[in-house]
């Protein structure tokens, strides 16, 4: 056995400096927050002992907001102002939302993302989600007794760039520092894998309230490697409720219900679905506002039949994920079930049949994602020596660029391990062309019109040349959160233009600041004080990281001049920390970062070469 020497890239925090970090499962139906305490991951309950926070937000005429059970209890009475399943609208335009007529909301078709008109004004799904995150942040801070360093927030693996960006924006709005966006099935695999010391290839089947993911992972010795993922970000338990609802309309010859009745029947449909998990039949009764009485018997078989094609819709992504991983169903050692919707018997039967084995349900499907996210948050916050621990995830959808004739040229294929980057060269079409329009798309289809448009931008200032002689290098980079940035550069002339774009659904920092100011809750908050506090925490972390690094290898990797420069920048930052202007602190922190760039590179070079040198020596020993 070759002994591998692994040097630690950074010092972990001293034991007494336990950093408060949480994992948040921002679900379609319910949301949860969990943390690691005494090496055990546990879900944090609210004051009444409830773990699940219904993802329901109600806006009141006086500008107040209710979140969770209290809002859920009145959803039929005040359906227009009570937003449920807002996750389905994240990063989505009105055209994507689907069955608008059967939803009790007043939609506003805003550019990029759909919005909802409430009694408290027009709300973006980002704002609604921020209300949920805010409640969870407060719950965590009260329960843990301090301010959070940050959170790992989970997203469906099949979320596209716009949906991920919207989630990150919501966190920012709620004052939550995002340590990482983590894919839900991967989070579940962490919780499951650690709990069961699992080794081998596992499938995670995650059917939530509004999203479906399938991920194939290889688990071995603390490494969680996602081989492939697939899914449907608009398929979940809600759709099963909706089938029951449509069945009720049909059976009772109803049409065009008002918002109140729609919400009432959807609520009854959901209750019936849950009842059918362990009962052969259930009776649905409701009194509609017009005085009609609904009284319908629904059997498990009826329910099964009316949802056959919904279950079937989860099979196709499963086959595709296996194909992408170059595996067959026989290669899968275990199937982990995640998400409340996997409680439905027809779902369990279909999955068992597909993989020819009984799926694993020994972890609470509602909690497993939050528990896994908490474990990862603990690692990312630096509370735990992470050397034996590695998570390798992938991007779910191909990323491409529009070329001539409305066709997509793929630049980063789906299931690429992140972070990843690819570059491709393009050229001009006309003589003397000085600008080039770049259209970034996400999806698997050949036609641009069948893919999701993420961003458009123009590269200007290309020196006039003969058609075909300019060389424009377009680079796509996906970071560890699965978020994309794109840059373009004209190379042949040495002239350089460089643009980094945010997807069109993403909010600019200015827009977020505006939202914060607009929101009644934050109006009382002293924005400056909050910004100052955040900056101070960040600056102190930076100082600690740099001084730890200097202690480790400052003398071996730096010459006197470099060291003096870093020490000076540290001194300057410490100095500015005495003051109260967050912008000044931010600038000093940026200067310290600049001063440490070459040092960071040298440290990484050393750490990489050390890893392999260790191996060579031990191989000689053998």
């Amino acid at each position: 056995m070759a002994l591998l020497q692994i040097s630690e890239p950074g010092l972990s925090a001293a034991p007494h400096q336990h950093r408060l970090a949480v994992g948040i499962d921002l679900g379609t139906t319910n949301s949860l927050v969990a943390t690691v305490r005494n090496s055990i991951s546990l879900v944090l309950n609210d004051q009444d002992g409830r773990a699940l926070l219904p993802s329901v937000v109600r806006y009141l005429p006086d500008g107040g907001v209710q979140v969770g059970d209290v809002a859920q209890a009145v959803q039929s009475e005040d359906p227009i102002n009570t937003i449920v399943s807002v996750k389905r609208f994240m990063g989505r335009g009105l055209a994507d939302v689907g069955d608008v007529a059967n939803m009790p909301y007043r939609f506003v078709d805003a550019p990029g993302m759909v919005q909802l008109r409430t009694v408290a004004g027009v709300k973006s799904p980002v704002e609604v989600s921020a209300e949920i995150l805010n409640v969870l942040r407060v719950r965590a801070e009260q329960s843990l007794g301090g301010e959070l360093v940050g959170a790992v927030i989970t997203v469906p693996a099949y979320f596209d760039d716009a949906q991920r960006q919207a989630t990150k924006d919501a966190a920012k709005l709620a004052g939550v520092n995002v340590l990482r966006l983590l894919n839900e099935p991967t989070a579940a695999a962490i919780a499951y894998g650690l709990d069961n010391a699992a080794e081998g290839i596992y499938a995670v089947y995650d059917l939530g309230g509004g999203t479906f993911d399938i991920s194939i992972l290889k688990l071995s010795k603390g490494v969680f490697e996602v081989l492939a993922t697939n899914g449907d970000s608009a398929l979940g338990g809600d759709d099963f409720d909706h089938r029951i609802y449509c069945g009720l309309l049909e059976k009772n010859k109803l049409s065009a219900l008002g918002a109140h009745d729609t919400r009432l029947l959807l609520t009854r449909a959901r209750a019936a679905k849950e009842e059918l998990t362990d009962h052969a039949e259930t009776r649905i009764t409701a009194m509609l506002s017009g005085g009609d009485l609904i009284d319908t018997l629904l059997t498990q078989k009826d329910f099964h039949d009316m949802t056959l094609n919904l279950v079937a819709r989860t099979m196709q992504p499963m086959r595709r994920a296996l194909r992408d991983a170059e595996l067959s169903a026989d290669d899968i050692k275990g199937v982990v079930m995640v998400g409340g919707s996997t409680r439905m018997p027809q779902v369990q039967r279909a999955v068992a049949e597909f993989f020819k084995q009984t799926p694993l349900t020994n972890l609470d499907p509602d909690k497993v994602v939050a528990l896994g996210a908490a474990i990862q948050a603990n690692v990312l916050a630096g509370n735990r020596n992470a050397d034996e621990w590695l998570l390798l995830d992938v991007s779910p959808l191909s990323l491409g660029i529009e070329t001539m004739g409305g066709l997509t040229e793929k630049i980063i294929p789906r299931n690429s391990t992140i972070p990843t980057a690819r570059a491709q060269e393009f050229t001009t079409f006309k003589d003397g062309q000085t600008a080039m329009s770049i259209h970034v798309v996400q999806g698997e289809r050949e036609l641009v019109s069948d893919c999701r448009s993420l961003a458009r931008f123009e590269l200007r200032g290309i020196p006039p040349m003969v058609a075909g002689s300019a060389r424009i290098r377009v680079t796509y980079q996906i970071d560890a959160d699965g978020l994309l940035s794109v840059s373009a550069r004209e190379q042949s002339s040495g002239v350089e233009s460089h643009i980094v774009v945010k997807p069109s659904y993403g909010l600019s920092d200015a827009e977020i600041a505006q939202m914060l100011q607009d929101s009644g809750r934050h109006a009382h908050d002293d924005m400056r004080a909050r910004a100052l506090r955040e900056q101070q925490v960040e600056a102190n972390q930076l100082l600690e990281a740099v001084s730890n690094a200097l202690d480790q290898d400052g003398n071996t990797l730096l010459n006197e001049e470099q060291k003096t420069r870093i020490l000076a920048a540290m001194g300057a930052l410490r100095n500015e920390l005495q003051g109260t202007d967050h912008l000044v602190i931010k600038r000093a922190a940026a200067q310290l970062n600049d001063a440490t760039v070459t040092y960071a590179q040298a440290r990484m070079d050393k750490s990489v070469s050390h890893a392999l040198t260790g191996q060579k020596i031990s191989e000689l020993d053998n």
Partner: protein, 180 residues
Amino acid sequence: MSAIGIDFQQNFFQLFNVPSRFQIDMVLLEQNYRVLQAQVHPDKFTHLSESERRVSMQWATRVNEGYQILRKPLDRARYLLSLHGVETQEETNTAMPVDFLMQQMEWREAIEDAQQAKDVAQLDVLLSKLRNDVKELQKLLELNIDIQQDFIAAAGVVRKLKFIEKLAEQIDSALDELDN
């Protein structure tokens, strides 16, 4: 398609500490990939300085790119040949032996027939046949590169493999479509 980002001081074989050959120890490659990612992955740097986080992302990106290239036989061969100064010219050099081209046409017809007949089983059969052809050509690559060091001949084999890869993609998307 090429690499971006930081300057490469080492080639990927050196980076992953595997011999610069076509036939490599895949277990060792995977093991070293994990050792390298354990050093450079952004998850290890979340709580550190901005500059360390940036360097980490660049390195992790590079390690992922290198692993993908060395892991896939076709990409590995192409990369190895480019290290020997031989470009495979897959886009420009389309001069292929006549019998190979005839064979390609037969393949295409067979795939289209199966696709039109919605014959998933037949598509699977074609795919496994194709994989056998791929294995044969990979053996040839090993001979050309590792033993004979005939890089020009190897470039010809790479071009053939590229054709076959496209056929496999065609079967894949046909299977995808039939799934819808």
